[in-house]
């Protein structure tokens, strides 16, 4: 990326109109994902506020608030005066760069395969855990949800998220499901939690985990399974979306 403007292809995928409403968080998240995935590189200038608000189909007030959030998070810097505007601040990190490459090189079919496998293991583990979890397991699972809700870095989030699912498989009293869950979390966890390009939003994920935990605590196996299925499908769909954005950007 040599020019300072966001390229046409990236603009197309990143700044398509938001269908899910003009909430500030949604706008901030969309731009932050594009930065996390490297679709907008360090130093690039964002389109003008008016233009950006127009393409995202949100009001300029919403857009300004979203940019303020991104400034707070240190992802965007606003310069005044001639040649001013909003610029991306995202120093290139080798490990993040590697994850983007992995996500770009993992095909949609392969992502779907991992998703199918994850669905089979994780959802079944949740159903069995609803029958077999002891109070100690429920306590440990609650700790892990709290850890996720409070996790500041992508690494901490990945860890708390992965361990939650591994602990569910252990609560199901199954060594086989637990081993598979560990392997799957090792394979997919990093991709789900690329810094700023997180396929799942932390608070949303923590809320989903609380709902799963409540179903397990109620011994409601079918509910636990259905919730985990939704949870896995959402995450994989998002990863596939990210993958497509990355390939459209660098074919």
């Amino acid at each position: 990326m040599t020019d300072a403007d966001v390229s046409g292809a990236a603009r197309h995928v990143v700044f398509a109109p938001l269908r899910d409403g003009g909430r500030v968080e949604v706008v901030a998240r969309r731009i932050s994902e594009a930065i996390g995935l490297g679709l907008i590189a360090d130093g690039e200038q964002l389109p003008s506020e008016l233009e950006l608000a127009g393409t995202l189909a949100v009001s300029t007030v919403t857009l300004r608030e979203a940019l303020a959030l991104l400034r707070q998070r240190g992802l965007v810097e606003t310069r005044r005066g001639r040649g001013g505007g909003s610029f991306v601040r995202a120093p290139v990190d080798a490990s993040v760069e590697r994850l983007r490459t992995v996500l770009r090189d993992t095909g949609v079919h392969e992502l779907r395969e991992i998703g199918d496998h994850l669905l089979a293991i994780t959802a079944t583990a949740a159903r069995l855990a609803a029958e077999r979890a002891s109070d100690e397991h429920l306590g440990r699972l609650e700790e892990l949800v709290d850890q996720l809700a409070a996790a500041e870095t992508a690494g901490e989030r990945r860890r708390a998220d992965g361990l939650f699912h591994i602990e569910i498989a252990a609560a199901a009293q199954s060594t086989r499901l637990t081993r598979q869950e560990i392997d799957l979390q090792g394979e997919i966890g990093e991709l789900l939690w690329i810094p700023n390009g997180e396929a799942i939003e932390r608070d949303e994920r923590a809320a989903q985990h609380r709902a799963v935990l409540a179903a397990i605590a109620d011994s409601a196996g079918d509910r636990a399974r259905a919730l985990v299925e939704q949870h896995v499908e959402l995450a994989i769909a998002k990863l596939i979306e990210f993958h497509l954005q990355l390939t459209q950007r660098s074919p």
């Binding site: 979890a133 002891s134 992965g162 252990a170 009293q173 060594t175 081993r179």
Partner: protein, 257 residues
Amino acid sequence: MGRPAVTPTVEQPVQEASPYAGEAAATVEALLRETFAGTDELRGLAVDVHRRAVREGRAPTTEDLEAIRPTVLRLLSQSRVPLAGTGVIAAPGTLADRPRWLEWWRRSPSGGSPRPLAVDLDPGNIGSYEYPVAPWFDVPCRTGRRVVVGPYVDYAGTDEYILTFAAPVSGDAGFFGVAAADIRATDLERALLPVLNADGPASLIVNASGRVIASNTPATIVGSIVRPGQGERRELAHGDDWPDCTGLPWFLVRDPA
């Protein structure tokens, strides 16, 4: 494996409501005593290792801890109910040369010679063995009590379905870690089944949380949970006889509906 059940060393009076509750209690008591006799031996040796190093004005090393190895290997080969593994686990920061360490040997289910347990001890990795938070380490560490844990899935550690019997290693030199032994859930059930009459009513042995340890019925198998109201319960390994042990009593449950 065709091993005999642990022979009861104490005969208890037969209780009228459960003809073999006495036999079950004696078998469980004998099993607990034998297993903890092994960990006590390791605890004594580890306390010595710790004391000697501290007297020399230094922290012990992994090499010092190797002094317990011959005993570990003997315990692995001689126990009547086969041990999946045994050894001593150092508390984080106690050893001079490693932040975390297990002097732990295991025997594979298919036999063969004992091998040291190889685990990922880097707390940053998702597959790392977070033993400081495991109940078998945490309870002795925090409370100074012995503990019986499981059956449970020991993920990132042995990856097996086991019970762990653990005791704190503490002496004049302070808390050093935990001495412990693992028994596979399968082996423990095999040792306990003879006291659950196969032709009698549905009978189970469950742990303090109601998790089934042994069962004579396919309707409620090892690893299931039996709630307090289900069936008629009798204590095995009375709390009074094991005042310094968390995770007891176990129970004999008859006719869990």
